[in-house]
C-alpha cells in the first residue's frame, strides 16, 4: 500500500519525501481563478490560502523536487461542482498542470469536469475524489467507464463495507482510503454548503419537534433528550475536528484515524492510504506522516492484521480516545 500525503507549500515536499510518502497531492489557487469567479467560489474543497499553492512557479518547484525521487504528484480539483465558466478555466488549469508543469494526475469528483477533460483530450490518470460518493460496485463500473483509474472511498463506510467493495472490484480498480485527520459529519459529496462560512455541521441549532408530525408519548421532542443529543453531537464533532486540533504528549496528532485497520486494508487489496489535511501545519503534516509510516512499516507478508492493530493502538497512546470508538474513521455496527 502506498502512503499519499498532502502539501500546501514547496518547502514541505523535502520533509514528506524524507519521511516516506509514496505519492503527494496538492491544490492550487491561481490569480486567474480569482479573476474568473471574483472570490465567490473556491477552486477546490479547501480554503484558497493555507491549503493551496498560490502560483504555477510553486507547483513547478514542488513537482520537480518530488520527481527527483520518482514520487508522483496529483493535483486536486475536487469541488463537488464547477459552474460552466469556471469549469472552462478548470480544464485549462488541469491541462497546464499535467502537460506543461508535469503533474502526474488529477483528483476530481465533478462529472461535467470529467466529461470536459476527456473531450479536451486530457489523458492523464484521474483519481475519483471521495466527494463522488462511490459506495457500490455499479458505481465503480460507472466511473471506470469514464476513465477513472483509482477511487478514493468516502468516509462514511464501515470496515465490512470497504472490505466487500474492494474485494469485489480490486481486479478492475485501484482503491484509496482515508488514514488520518479531518472527519466530516455529513457525506461531503452531498453537502451543498461551503466551508468558507465555517463548517455547516458545526451550527449549534435551536431545535424543537414539529407539532402534528405524529410524535407519541415518548416523543423525541422531550427537552432533556434534545439537550442530551446536542451535547452528544458536540462531543462527536470534537473528535471529527481532530480532537480539537490536539496532539498526544509525544507530538503525534489526534483525530480521525484508520491506523489499526492497515493490516486488513492490505489483505483486502486496498492500494493506498491517504493522509488528509492540506491546510494543516508543517508540523502536523510531518507527525501525521511519521505515525502512518510507522504503522505501514509493520506490514509484512503473513503479519496478523490484529498485531498491526495492537501496534497502532500502542503508538496512539491515547487508549481513552481509541476505545471511545469515535476517533475511528470507519466504525462497525453490532449487526455486521
Amino acid at each position: 500500500m502506498k502512503i499519499v500525503a498532502p502539501f500546501s507549500h514547496p518547502n514541505e515536499v523535502e520533509m514528506l519525501l524524507h519521511y516516506g510518502a509514496d505519492e503527494l497531492y496538492c491544490g492550487i489557487h491561481t490569480p486567474e481563478w480569482e479573476d474568473c469567479v471574483k472570490g465567490r467560489l473556491w477552486m477546490n474543497r479547501r480554503s484558497p490560502r493555507g491549503a493551496n499553492l498560490l502560483s504555477w512557479q510553486a507547483l513547478a518547484e514542488a513537482i520537480s523536487l518530488a520527481h527527483t525521487q520518482n514520487i508522483p504528484v496529483f493535483i486536486t480539483l475536487n469541488s463537488p461542482f464547477y459552474p460552466e465558466s469556471a469549469r472552462k478555466y478548470a480544464v485549462g488549469v488541469c491541462r497546464k498542470a499535467v502537460e506543461e508543469i508535469g503533474a502526474d494526475g488529477l483528483i476530481i469528483s465533478d462529472i461535467p469536469l470529467l466529461i470536459d477533460l476527456r473531450k479536451a483530450g486530457c489523458s492523464a490518470p484521474i483519481h475519483l475524489s471521495s466527494l463522488a460518493g462511490c459506495i457500490n460496485s455499479g458505481t465503480v463500473d460507472f466511473y471506470r467507464g469514464l476513465g477513472i483509474s483509482r477511487i478514493i472511498l468516502p468516509r462514511q463506510l464501515r470496515p465490512s463495507e470497504i472490505e466487500d467493495l474492494v474485494k469485489r472490484n480490486r481486479e478492475q480498480m485501484d482503491f484509496e482510503v482515508f488514514a488520518l485527520n479531518d472527519g466530516c459529519f455529513f457525506e461531503e459529496g452531498y453537502c451543498q454548503t461551503t466551508h468558507a462560512l465555517n463548517p455547516f455541521c458545526m451550527t449549534d441549532w435551536e431545535m424543537d419537534s414539529i407539532p402534528g408530525h405524529g410524535e407519541d408519548s415518548n416523543s423525541l421532542g422531550n427537552p432533556d433528550l434534545l439537550e442530551k443529543n446536542r451535547t452528544d453531537m458536540k462531543g462527536f464533532l470534537w473528535f471529527l475536528n481532530n480532537c480539537g486540533s490536539s496532539f498526544q504528549d509525544d507530538g503525534l496528532p489526534n483525530g480521525p484515524c484508520s491506523l489499526c485497520l492497515f493490516g486488513h486494508f492490505q489483505d483486502w487489496g486496498v492500494d493506498a492510504v491517504k493522509i488528509v489535511g492540506r491546510e494543516a501545519s508543517f508540523y502536523r503534516k510531518m507527525r501525521s506522516l511519521q505515525i502512518v509510516k510507522a504503522v505501514m512499516d509493520q506490514i509484512r507478508p503473513g503479519t496478523d492484521p490484529n498485531e498491526i492493530a495492537h501496534y497502532a493502538c500502542r503508538l496512539r497512546s491515547t487508549p481513552d480516545l481509541c476505545t471511545s470508538g469515535l476517533m475511528c474513521y470507519f466504525r462497525e455496527s453490532d449487526d455486521s
Binding site: F200, S209, L326
Partner: protein, 294 residues
C-alpha cells in the same frame, strides 16, 4: 402542462389524499408562513394531481419493503395514479436487501436514482422502467447562510451560484445518452431566475423544502441510543424519523430549517414559493409536494 405529485409514506394515505392535501397546509405560525401556506394551497388547487412518490432519496432504511410496495402499487393503481419510487445511494449489500422492491415495479413506473450504480443496475435488469436523476446528483451551492446582501453586492454572483450540475448542456446530453428521462431538483435558497427549463429532459421541482446536506450518519437515529457504538454510518434504527421531525433555527440564517432523518432541509421562503408558482404557470414541470412526507 404542469402536473402535481405527492410524496407519501404509507399506502393508506392514497385513500385520503384530498384530506391529506388540506392537512399539509394547516397550522398556525407567523404572517409570512401564513402567506406561504396560501401560495402552497393555490398551487395544490391549480394543478392536476396524477402521481405519488414513495420511498426515500436519502436513506435505504426508509424504502418500502416488498409488502408495503405491493400495497402502494395496488392502491395507486386503483386510484388511477402513477408511481415514482425514490431511491437513495446504497452499498452493494443495501442494494441486495432492497432488490425485491424493484421486482414489484411495473414498466410504466418510474424510479428516481441518486446513485450511478443503482442507475446502471436498473438499466441492465429493468430496462423498461423510466429513470430520473435525483437531487443528490445535482451538485451546486445551497448554503442558506449566504446573505441577501452578499448577492446584492455582487450582481453576477447570483447567476454563478445558481448554476448546478443539471444546467450544463454537456451533462444533459450525457444523461440523455444513458437513457435518463427526467431530472429532479429543488430551488436554491438564493434562486432568482433558475435557467433549468431548457433542454430535452423533463423536470420535477420539489417543494416546500430544499435539501442542504445529508449523510449515512443519522442524528435522529442517535437520539435514544445508549452506549457504544455511536454515530455509525448506516446503523440500524427504530425509524423515529417516521414519527418525529425537528424545526431548527440559528442566527446565521434567516430561513427555517428542518431535520428529518439523516437530512437537513430549508423551508422555502415566500419569495421562493412565488417563484415556484411563476415557473409552474409558465412552463411544463412536475411539482413534487413533500410537505407531509418530511
Amino acid at each position: 402542462m404542469t402536473r402535481l405529485a405527492l410524496h407519501i409514506r404509507h399506502p393508506e394515505q392514497i385513500g385520503r389524499l384530498a384530506k391529506e392535501k388540506t392537512d399539509l397546509t394547516a397550522g398556525g405560525g407567523s404572517r409570512a408562513s401564513e402567506i406561504g401556506r396560501k401560495t402552497i394551497r393555490r398551487i395544490l388547487k391549480t394543478y392536476r394531481f396524477d402521481r405519488v412518490y414513495i420511498g426515500d432519496e436519502f436513506c435505504p432504511r426508509r424504502l418500502p419493503g416488498p409488502e408495503r410496495m405491493r400495497a402502494f402499487r395496488e392502491q395507486a393503481g386503483a386510484a388511477g395514479l402513477k408511481v415514482t419510487l425514490l431511491t437513495p445511494p446504497m452499498t452493494d449489500s443495501e442494494i441486495f436487501q432492497n432488490y425485491s422492491v424493484f421486482e414489484i415495479l411495473v414498466p410504466e413506473d418510474e424510479v428516481v436514482v441518486n446513485d450511478w450504480g443503482v442507475m446502471l443496475l436498473l438499466k441492465d435488469k429493468f430496462p423498461r422502467l423510466s429513470l430520473s436523476l435525483g437531487r443528490l446528483l445535482n451538485r451546486g451551492m445551497k448554503d442558506t447562510r449566504l446573505s441577501e446582501e452578499f448577492f446584492q453586492c455582487q450582481a453576477d454572483g447570483r447567476t454563478l451560484l445558481e448554476e448546478t450540475t443539471f444546467d450544463g448542456s454537456d451533462f444533459l446530453a450525457f444523461a440523455a445518452t444513458r437513457g435518463i428521462d427526467r431530472l429532479e431538483r429543488d430551488l436554491a435558497p438564493h434562486s432568482a431566475s433558475p435557467s433549468f427549463l431548457e433542454g430535452n429532459l423533463a423536470h420535477s421541482i420539489y417543494f416546500p423544502f430544499g435539501y442542504i446536506t445529508t449523510g449515512r450518519i443519522c442524528r435522529i437515529a442517535e437520539m435514544k441510543k445508549g452506549g457504544a457504538p455511536r454515530w455509525l454510518p448506516g446503523a440500524p434504527c427504530r425509524q423515529d424519523c417516521e414519527r418525529t421531525a425537528f424545526r431548527m433555527i440559528h442566527e446565521s440564517t434567516r430561513l427555517v430549517h428542518h431535520q428529518n432523518g439523516n437530512t437537513i432541509f430549508y423551508r422555502y421562503p415566500v419569495s421562493l414559493l412565488d417563484r415556484l408558482a411563476q415557473i409552474a404557470d409558465q412552463q411544463e414541470v412536475r411539482l413534487v409536494y413533500q410537505g407531509k412526507a418530511l
